[in-house]
Symmetry: C2
Subunit: 148 residues, 2 copies
């Protein structure tokens, strides 16, 4: 999802963040990268157009995005933290062939699971969100997973 600098600026303001050049560019990069990048990948991507930007700033900025509900950390089975622009509750498919993390949106599924959990009535737990993690292999590597 490509967004303009002014739109990025607007999103930052709406989330109570000062719209610095660095944050504008990092948010743009995060929103237009589908692959759930880590801090270093975002830094690499931005450096071409903005060579002075520091990796430490990317770390700090991504942290501030998470604090302000603009992004969330993605759980991986390696030890690396990756980021996902927070749009709405969605699930992830981990491809064990390629290491990709693919978004899987399925509102019906979300409702199905929540209904089930409600019926189970888990005591002493206030559920904030749920996420299904599907691990598998893309069988046709030349082609993206097609979500019906």
């Amino acid at each position: 999802l490509k967004i303009s600098a002014s739109h990025s600026k607007e999103i930052l303001s709406n989330h109570g963040l000062k719209a610095t050049h660095q944050r504008i560019v990092i948010l743009q990069a995060l929103m237009e990268t589908e692959s759930h990048p880590n801090a270093e990948q975002i830094h690499d991507k931005i450096k071409k157009a903005f060579p002075s930007i520091s990796l430490a700033t990317v770390y700090k900025t991504l942290d501030s995005f998470v604090q302000n509900n603009l992004a969330e950390k993605v759980l991986t089975d390696t030890d690396h933290v990756r980021y996902d622009c927070k749009v709405h509750e969605h699930n992830h498919i981990y491809c064990t062939n390629t290491g990709e993390i693919i978004d899987y949106e399925d509102n019906e599924l979300q409702i199905l699971i929540k209904k089930h959990l409600q019926s189970k009535n888990i005591e002493n737990l206030e559920i904030e969100k749920i996420k299904l993690v599907i691990t598998g292999k893309k069988t046709d590597l030349k082609q993206s997973v097609f979500i019906k």
Copy 2:
């Protein structure tokens, strides 16, 4: 789940791993720790009774457990790798208050989700396993989450 040294030894052999003193003790520690520890926590726990054990060995051993399907890495939203004894497919509850990872087993749920995914017929994906991650807060911190 407490297990004896001889039982631990047996499990290791059954998984094709040489039953060294270190591995026996690490497996015992992992099985009896409900909190999904990381390498350092396991090392700390073992050191009391086995002061010469090296942290590097704990890392190597946990890796070998994962390779041999005795354990699996747990995905956290921090950057730390934690471990879970591999028993069977199960879900996790992350408590945002305490940082705990609590197992949630619910076979009905597993079946429900799988049926749904089958009906959705996701193309080009061979599903290996699914795991639901529930994020929430334990409302009564003095008491453990009770799974009905």
